[in-house]
């Protein structure tokens, strides 16, 4: 664990520097994502111009939710950008080189890339959180904690999806699709989920623990709500580590259908 903590920031910083190498590409991708998020927000602004709330969720609550998911996706892409095509990295056999080095493979995989477009998510997400999320500065530590836990759940789920590549050749696009669904599910108010869909967003597609539980914690702080948010982060992280290790063991037994 110490090995990861000592080298991860350096590797992530290197990935960020690499993403900045082509300035034009960086600015285009970042700007493009910011505009894309802007259009998405505009739809909600238009909606709230006509309605006061949706299933009990007002404009500020939606701003908090959207600010959280955009910031989470932004931080993930900037500092852990390797998650986005981790399945592709596994399937191409590129982790062979990482397996000959002494540091844990998962950290190397997450830090091998930084996505320029993620800066667009991060900037817009922070602006929404600070400007429209109706949070006071006193809530800043709690908001940071909730954000961190949501980030852990999001990255854990995305990593678990990517780990499917250890079992199936077609997992590259499937893992991406699942992660995109996860972002989509995390962009809607909790009140639209009920019955089976609610079960899904609190298990396989844990949008409930990425944004819904953190929003509840920030709106109605309490030990119970905090326990749910922190507990979910711990449980999802542990499950993902177990899945990844199982998959890696399978890879090392030569059972993963790589192209390398």
């Amino acid at each position: 664990m110490g090995g990861v903590l000592s080298t991860y920031p350096l590797q992530a910083a290197a990935a960020i520097r690499a993403s900045l190498a082509d300035r034009t590409n960086f600015l285009l991708q970042m700007g493009g994502m910011a505009v894309n998020n802007g259009f998405f927000l505009a739809l909600w602004v238009l909606f709230f111009a006509g309605f006061r709330s949706v299933g009990g969720w007002g404009a500020a609550d939606m701003a908090l939710l959207l600010g959280l998911i955009m910031t989470i996706v932004g931080i993930s892409g900037v500092a852990f950008g390797g998650y986005r095509d981790m399945a592709g990295t596994i399937l191409s056999g590129e982790i062979d080189a990482l397996l000959t080095q002494p540091k844990p493979v998962l950290g190397r995989l997450l830090s091998r890339d930084s996505l320029p477009s993620a800066w667009g998510d991060l900037v817009v997400g922070l602006v929404i959180l600070v400007g429209f999320g109706r949070l006071s500065w006193v809530q800043a530590p709690l908001a940071l904690g909730a954000l961190a836990c949501g980030l852990v759940v999001y990255l854990s789920a995305a990593t678990a999806f990517a780990s499917l590549a250890f079992w199936a050749r077609g997992a590259r696009s499937f893992a991406r699709d699942l992660t995109d669904f996860l972002i989509l599910f995390s962009s809607y108010p909790g009140s639209i989920f009920s019955g089976a869909s609610k079960l899904v967003v609190y298990t396989l597609m844990p949008a409930g623990f990425i944004v819904l539980a953190p929003v509840r914690l920030l709106r109605a702080p309490g030990l119970g709500a905090a326990g749910v948010v922190v507990g979910a982060a711990v449980v999802y992280a542990l499950i993902t580590l177990a899945v990844f290790q199982l998959g890696l063991a399978r890879y090392r037994r030569g059972l993963t259908p790589t192209s390398g």
Binding site: G3, S6, T7, L10, Q11, A14, A15, R17, A18, S19, A21, D22, G93, E94, D96, A97, L99, T100, Q101, P102, K103, R252, R253, G254, L255, P257, G260
Partner: protein
């Protein structure tokens, strides 16, 4: 000398689902896959002593890379035993990583968009290297490998040969005692290949380093290694000093002549004319009986030569010849 690598009846089997033809086959295959097992490495045993430079050669799919991956801890074997510096590679992978350097010819351990210098600095942290010792080692390697002008250049803008020099340098920065090179000259031009071979040989001799190399190129083996292990279909066919192998099996060249005349006829010993298109003559030259320059001189003396190519016979042919000679098949 003490053995750095000990391998006993090492085996690796891969299982894969055989694809069936047609739509019905695809559907039944999805629910009841027809699994096939192939033996990539079939019970190989050998020892490599400290300071030896050993080539593992063989045709595509012979089991060379799989053997290297098991010895470097990437893959677990199906059965058998191996120890590298007394460590079981697949169980003590991280401890072993500090003592070995690995280069996979078609994989990179460098950050493509960053200058090589930045990748090297990161590798120092990954291998927990002391800054002073690292700087001294990097300085020596940069001088030895002529990397001065490349250090501040992004790796993605380097030629393949330049990138490979940086890859090998990266694998040596933590001062490993053993270097695994999987196809280090693949895709390189002649000059770049020569530079890589010189560097590996010079560095390994100077440091007393053990080198295990896989290659498709017989020149890599002749110029870099003092011992050759030939693998075919997962089994060791030959394990002998390079000099001996060279005398027996690496004494042939392939000379291709493009000519105005439909066919070139040369009356020299040691020449075998291989089937080819009109205006192209492909000659198999046994260099124990005739020198290549004698063949070229004779061809030029006849006139009408438009182009000449000199190559080593393909590895597949060399291995087939070795296999036939050793098994008597």
């Amino acid at each position: 000398m003490s053995a750095v690598i000990t391998v006993q009846t090492l085996t690796k089997q891969y299982r894969y689902a055989r694809r069936r033809t047609g739509a019905l086959g695809a559907i039944t295959g999805a629910f009841a896959p027809d699994f096939q097992t192939i033996e990539a490495v079939a019970g190989v045993s050998f020892e490599i002593a400290a300071g030896e430079r050993v080539a593992i050669i063989g045709p595509n799919g012979a089991g060379k890379s799989t053997t290297l991956k098991m010895l470097s801890g990437v893959l677990e074997p199906s059965s058998g035993q191996a120890r590298v510096f007394g460590l079981v590679p697949w169980r003590e992978r991280r401890a072993l990583a500090y003592r070995i350097g690995v280069v996979f010819g078609q994989r990179s351990q460098l950050w493509g968009e960053l200058p090589a210098r930045d990748s090297f600095a990161l590798l120092r942290r990954i291998y927990d290297q002391d800054e002073t010792a690292f700087a001294a080692r990097l300085g020596r390697l940069v001088e030895q490998f002529g990397l001065g002008e490349l250090l501040d250049q992004p790796v993605s803008r380097m030629s393949l040969g330049q990138r490979m020099r940086c890859e090998i340098t990266a694998s040596l920065l933590h001062g490993p005692d053993l270097l695994f090179l999987d196809e280090p000259t693949i895709g390189l031009d002649i000059t770049a290949k020569a530079a890589i071979r010189d560097f590996i040989t010079e560095h390994a001799r100077g440091q007393g380093q053990t080198v295990v190399l896989t290659s498709h190129d017989t020149r890599d083996i002749e110029l870099v290694c003092d011992r050759v292990i030939v693998i075919n279909q997962g089994r060791i066919v030959v394990d002998q000093p390079t000099d001996q192998l060279r005398r027996q099996f690496l004494a042939r060249k392939r000379v291709t002549l493009q000519s105005a005349a439909p066919r070139i006829t040369l009356d020299l010993p040691g020449l075998t004319v291989l089937p080819s298109q009109p205006h192209t003559s492909v000659l198999d030259v046994d260099t124990r009986l005739v020198r290549v320059e004698q063949v070229i001189a004779a061809a030029l003396a006849g006139g009408g030569i438009e182009d000449i190519t000199i190559e080593d016979p393909p590895m597949e042919e060399v291995v087939r010849e070795i296999y036939l000679a050793t098994t008597g098949a």
